[in-house]
Symmetry: C2
Subunit: 520 residues, 2 copies
């Protein structure tokens, strides 16, 4: 960011003092961001490249840099500069301006980091470390009762954190926790969208389960890993992921790390007998990657150049994975490419076979293996349970019963044991509550944004069918990526799509896709 | 390093104040080392992995961390702690103890970093940046006259730096520069070893050039790069490079980066028609890697856990590249392995063919393409010229004539133009003077250390001939790597080999190898 840019952004301030404080605030935020981006590289390297002997030293490097970032992010001077900026009334003239965005979000972050007493942070760190170890043991033994006291402790600490953060009188503690992942998100709003979504998804699942579906034979095919590697790289390059400004590597769990708008690293994973997983994982991560590469370069390191929320980030990954990568139009283009890359082994599978296999619905009790339809039901179970825990409406000992009941009710499956039930996810054991709904918010935003893109871009199916993804990418760059954090997720949705977030677009999308496949 | 270790190391101090200052000094040095190791990762990633778009941001990351390292390394408090440690007479009882080593070398580094005025450092940075750009242009045009004024400026700044560092009354400015790469090294000592080496190398080259030598047909063989990759990895794993605590990647210029004793990254390069370069480069870097992995873990981040000098580092790379990797015994073992890995393409080449090709002598005017014999003559030309420049005995405009004359005299070759002559190396343009001799010092130390290893380890040829490199590695670990910086290079040489550094071992080694090959 040049000094000129900062001065231009600061023009709304009425006093020179505020302009100076703003320039200093931006300078400090950018330096902190450089340190954070170094932490991102250390973390990327640890997952994708580091020899296993390096783990202890890496913890030392990360610990030292994280401490520096924390000290600088919570420094009194930073708070003082913020106060000077806020004291100047000029920003009120344009609350979505770059400067207003930067000051508003810097305040949010500063408050979240300084409102927690050090003792509480330390207690959470210690508890999470022990809870994670106990969760692993409990899961191994498929015995939730071992983990129950730790979940109670984690819940209690999350409740205390929520009290420290604070929330409006008409809100609830869960909101203060979710705000860390999805700024401005409230349980009431989530419930308002999830409730109709759940009812209609359960009904749709019920109809689907009564019908014969497409075969999954394509998924069981064994394909050489070097060819898989070539193919997924070919697809995401065509999507528009820029390999001159990013990489694709391999790790146990796929992820995407935005070190800088010009240095975005994503990972995927390969198994000889699971090409579908490699392709969908890579398409998914490339959605995150294209978002990170599309953020405004001139505002890098400040909120105006940062992603809005986990939900919006997930909307980008889901859209490229599902609305694009699981569409009939995509396979119209990709099926001949599949034959060109893999040759004989795929010859027996028609375009319809592959498209069908990628869109099978199969309820299971494991979230990470879920299809597009049932995935959201998995999330709702978790949202309802963690909200009840935080409210004090559910005792941690009663989680397995609540869990298994909801799985029966929503997904129609019997959970065989706790390991494959309420112990399957790591999130709560790490202290993260308020996180899960961002996955389904991502699906909802993806569907609603995609409907608007479709309306504004002409025949996207015809574009996809010839491997032309450039119009969609350019639209997302302009509508979703370029604004950085100028709007909250809900605001951006309304601004871009003309309507508040609704369950309808996702339901219409799923019904529209599954009706012909399952002859509903 | 545990507190207990530091306390044990501090037992020589006579006062609690010195023990406290020492513990604080070690703590601070370790934190600085963690930052430096993060810089190493940033640099490794830039060369080996980073997408090209990341270059600008990476400069920002490196700049910020380098500034932090510089500020902490030159902090007044650090100097005060050092002074308290030095003020306590206790360390005199054992000048090679861990504590004495750490204090002595910390002082050396501190003085080198604080003795230069900021303006001089800035002027050198700026000049080097411009000089490098001009050097590139001059080399492209093969016109030294364009670079001459910049070399004069770099020389002048180096001379001013040397005056700031200071040097003994019987020394000269070059010594103060070399000390940054090879602590304690003086031009007089270098000259004392280089002079007899040069005379006998020139004579040996003269004899070799009159005889028919081995064929280099093996070097022109085209071999698939994935097989080359497998083979070099196989060899250096057998050498004892630990892939659980290190990596091998690819970059334009091979290098080795010791991020930590348990995280050592080396690179190599491949060309389908240059397997010999890939193999020797990888063997070379693995010598650096094995040294870095062999440093004492408990003293990581302090001088007692650091490499002695560039010369000793180079001795390790040269030994594994040449004394081991170009030996007849090595090829006794490696030739069948070569056939096993590459199959038909190498079938026509006998063990003697491969061994001969790897040991051909071929004078040229390009240093980086030189063989074992002539390499040292390239270095001497550079040492003599840079020493004369610094002394004021040679004007920068006269460098081409001096250069070409020496190449004719030492190597018997006519330099065709400046680009292939005195403009071929980047070092001076970057401001580095006093660096070149470390290459030949490495060759000399390698030969002398290897003679002692051979005398102490029994029949190393028989060991190599069955691919058993463990005894040599263990010997180097104990004699050269474990002591860290407790001894200066010259001291270690005398301690381990029983004699001061001499040209004889290298000459005997080269004569012994070339006599049968060239039927001298």
């Amino acid at each position: 960011m040049t000094t000129t840019t900062i001065e231009a952004d600061a023009r709304l301030f009425t006093t020179p003092a505020a302009r100076t404080a703003y320039a200093e605030l931006i300078g400090e935020m950018r330096e902190i961001a450089v340190l954070r981006s170094t932490l991102s590289l250390l973390a990327w390297d640890q997952e994708a490249k580091m020899p296993r002997g390096g783990v202890e030293h890496r913890a030392g490097q990360i610990g030292m840099l994280a401490k520096m970032v924390h000290q600088r992010s919570t420094a009194r001077e930073l708070g003082e500069k913020l106060a000077v900026c806020e004291g100047d009334g000029g920003l009120a003239a344009d609350p979505h301006s770059v400067a207003a965005t930067n000051v508003r979000e810097a305040r949010r972050r500063y408050d979240r980091q300084t409102k927690l007493p050090t003792e509480l942070v330390q207690e959470m760190t210690l508890t999470a470390s022990k809870a994670k170890a106990e969760w692993k043991e409990a899961r191994k033994a498929a015995d939730f009762s071992r983990f129950a006291p730790w979940l109670a402790k984690v819940t209690e600490l999350n409740r205390r954190q929520a009290e420290c953060f604070g929330f409006p009188a008409d809100g609830e503690p869960w909101d203060a926790l979710a705000d860390g992942f999805e700024p401005g998100c409230t349980a009431r709003e989530v419930e308002g969208v999830f409730k109709p979504l759940r009812d209609r998804l359960v009904a749709l699942l019920d109809r689907v389960m009564g019908r014969p579906g497409p075969s999954d034979a394509f998924h069981r095919l064994e394909l050489p890993i070097d060819k898989q590697r070539e193919f997924v790289r070919f697809v995401v390059a065509r999507y528009g992921f820029d390999f001159d400004r990013g990489r694709l590597d391999e790790s146990t769990h796929p992820f995407c790390s935005g070190i800088h708008v010009d240095d975005v690293r994503m990972t995927t994973r390969f198994r000889i007998d699971n090409f579908a997983d490699a392709l969908s994982s890579t398409c998914h991560e490339s959605g995150h990657g294209i978002y990170n590469q599309g953020l405004p370069r001139e505002h890098w390191g400040t909120p105006a150049g940062s992603p809005i929320s986990l939900g919006i980030h997930e909307s980008q990954s889901r859209m490229w994975e599902n609305q694009v990568g699981r569409s009939a139009a995509f396979w119209r283009w990709a099926h001949p490419e599949l034959k060109r890359h893999f040759g004989a082994p795929v010859a027996a599978f028609s375009e319809a076979d592959v498209y069908g296999a990628c869109n099978r619905v199969e309820p299971s009790f494991i979230r990470v293996e879920a299809d597009e339809l049932t995935y959201n039901l998995h999330i709702m179970v978790r949202f309802e349970i963690e909200r009840a825990l935080i409210r004090g409406d559910l005792d941690s000992n009663d989680v397995p019963v609540a869990w298994n009941t909801k799985y029966r009710e929503y997904l129609g499956v019997e959970v065989p044991d706790d390991a494959q039930g309420c112990l399957q996810d790591i999130h709560w054991s790490q202290g993260a509550m308020g996180y899960f709904p961002t996955y389904t918010l991502g699906n909802l935003y993806a569907a609603q944004l995609f409907d608007t893109a479709r309306a504004e871009l002409g025949d996207v199916d015809a574009q996809f069918a010839v491997g032309n993804f450039a119009p969609l990418k350019a639209w997302l760059n302009e509508k979703v990526h370029a604004p950085g954090m100028r709007y909250r997720a809900a605001e951006l949705c309304e601004k871009v799509t003309g309507a508040p977030l609704s369950a309808d677009p996702l339901l219409t999308y799923l019904e529209g896709k599954l009706a012909p496949l399952y002859r509903l």
